[in-house]
């Protein structure tokens, strides 16, 4: 078990006219090795939820445990927590600040209090891992890079901390299709290397269906369902209730079945759809 969330409720600006409850009794459990998608309409509490995971938002009520770090403690070990849960915020390229790429990426590990050799090693590893040429880019200013490169550098800045849990808030927002594919492939690579648990907030249902083992569907500050993509995207009642859009694959499958071509399985990824179509043809 890597993350356990119990009955977490959070209100912004409590006791003012601006008070708004963003989370209402959220409970879920994320196992190590899972790729979890967090979806829901804007304002459904997704961002508030993930910011709880590394105590960017302090608990108001409820319990959260990340590995052995208890966030209900009066003074949780924030340094260790933030080294454990790496958070890539929305548009992470806007957090770049230092003169060179190398210095910027080393900001996180430095804050963890590592020694210089270890930092250098991690920075090289992180920059290489995000698909950039370390020797070529280390001394360049992060501000002169292209948009896609900036985002990679920003992600490198987080993974240089070698987090066991990688949380990404809308990692593919504002990118072109090619950039999207590259970032998604990168996340997979990171998951395979040292961040076994990945949590992604996304509005892009195709990428969620394609990559996630489980989906936490948020609706009005509550978890409407925490289940596999198949269970969620084929639950028409749930989809209607939460005004959720389907991934293209599911749309195709449903349209086919409406036209009388029902498939032998319920595909959510492209590969599954192709396999289902093949199987259908083989059986006539």
């Amino acid at each position: 078990m890597s993350i356990e969330v119990k009955d977490v409720t959070y209100t912004y600006s409590p006791k003012t006219p601006y008070a708004s409850t963003a989370l209402k009794g959220v409970t879920l459990r994320i196992e190590e090795g899972e790729y979890v998608g967090v979806i829901g309409k804007t304002g459904s509490g997704k961002s508030t939820f993930i910011q709880h995971l590394n105590a960017l938002i302090r608990l108001q009520s409820g319990e959260i445990k990340v590995y052995d770090i208890d966030l209900t403690a009066k003074k949780p070990d924030l340094k260790r927590l933030r080294g454990t849960v790496g958070m890539v915020m929305q548009y992470p390229e806007y957090q770049l600040f230092d003169e060179t790429v190398e210095k910027d990426v080393s900001y996180g590990p430095k804050n963890l209090g590592l020694d210089d050799r270890e930092i250098k090693e991690r920075v090289r590893e992180a920059i290489t891992l995000v698909g950039l040429d370390y020797e070529d880019i280390r001394d360049r200013s992060p501000f002169e890079l292209s948009g896609g490169q900036k985002r990679r550098v920003a992600i490198a800045g987080v993974i240089a901390m070698r987090p066991k849990v990688l949380v990404l808030d809308e990692p593919i927002a504002g990118l072109d299709p090619k950039g999207k594919q590259e970032i998604l492939a990168l996340v997979k690579k990171l998951k395979a290397s040292f961040s076994p648990t990945v949590i992604v907030v996304s509005h892009d249902m195709d990428s969620v269906a394609e990559n996630c083992d489980k989906i936490a569907l948020f609706s009005d500050g509550e978890i409407a369902r925490f289940a596999s993509p198949r269970e969620i995207f084929y639950d028409d009642e749930l989809l209607a209730k939460t005004e959720l859009d389907c991934p293209s694959v599911v749309k195709v499958a449903k349209e086919l079945s409406r036209l009388g071509m029902s498939l032998p399985s319920m595909p959510v990824t492209k590969a599954e759809l192709i396999a289902a179509l093949r199987e259908r043809r083989a059986h006539g």
Partner: protein, 277 residues
């Protein structure tokens, strides 16, 4: 964000909220002048009651109003301390080594503190009951006679409203960047002044870069819509004086008049004191 209450609009639909912002602005200007003419404690009391009355009428919780004083607490303490220790008078109350406190010093310290607090409270009511946009419109309208001598009133108002509009955006941006850097293990809370200042660099650099980016985008967007500062344009919200504005102005001005009458004619304090003699 809680500590930047000064200048924060407190939404409600009270008679004070509905007043013409120009009238409110002028009343506050008169008020500020008036505060400097307050001569004795009785008048401080009168002004204080006046503020409480307006606050009650505007449906703003007194707790929210008095919170704005927190912003000037340090200033109040410092000025009061300076006056307490450095005012020389006739009646020496306390003396130890180089410190000597006179009765006059105590009185001056108290009066200055009261004056600063009063100066903070009422203008806070203005910003609590008036949106920044209304205020800008009011300033533009009040300054418009200056157009005759070629003062670019509209441009000034536009700059003000853009600046005001950008404050919440920049605050939000600051918070986001702070969160992002905290997620990278940044520590803004411990260490000495120098360390804390240094810790702000990873916040300030992206903030400035972002501000310039936004300014560029905004200029481009305005250009794309053929914005011109000399074009004649109408207002979406037309400000109109009503009977309520007149009543409010008269009421406030008569309270302020009380202060002046007291200072130059009545000497209220002495009248009250003489009753007890």
């Amino acid at each position: 964000m809680d500590n930047i209450v000064f200048g924060q609009y407190y939404p409600s639909n009270s008679p004070v909220h509905r007043l013409d912002p120009r009238v409110k602005l002028l009343i506050v200007l008169f008020y500020i002048v008036t505060v400097f003419f307050v001569a004795d404690y009785a008048m401080y009391g009168v002004l204080f009651l006046f503020i409480v009355a307006v606050a009650l009428l505007s449906k703003i919780p007194l707790r929210v109003l008095f919170r704005t004083v927190r912003a000037v607490v340090v200033l109040v303490l410092i000025t009061s301390a300076i006056n307490l220790f450095f005012t020389k008078g006739e009646e020496l109350l306390f003396s130890w080594k180089f410190i000597s406190i006179y009765k006059e010093g105590i009185e001056r310290a108290i009066k200055l503190a009261l004056r600063l607090i009063l100066l903070m409270l009422f203008p806070s009511l203005l910003t609590l009951t008036t949106t920044p946009m209304e205020l800008t419109d009011a300033i533009e309208s009040l300054l418009s006679p200056l157009k005759v001598i070629k003062v670019p009133v509209h441009a000034i108002a536009l700059i003000m409203s853009i600046a005001l509009r950008m404050i919440p955006i920049l605050m939000e941006e600051t918070n986001k960047i702070i969160l992002a850097q905290k997620a990278r293990g940044a520590d803004f809370d411990t260490g000495g002044v120098l360390k804390k200042a240094k810790a702000m660099i990873p916040v300030l650099v992206p903030l400035f870069v972002g501000a310039f980016r936004r300014a560029d985008e905004l200029a481009l967007a305005m250009d794309a819509r053929c914005y011109s500062s000399v074009a004649k344009r109408t207002k979406y919200k037309v400000m109109k004086l009503t009977v309520a504005d007149l009543v409010a102005a008269l009421f406030c001005l008569s309270v302020f008049a009380l202060v002046f009458l007291n200072k130059y004619l009545w000497h209220f304090d002495e009248m009250i004191l003489s009753l007890f003699r």
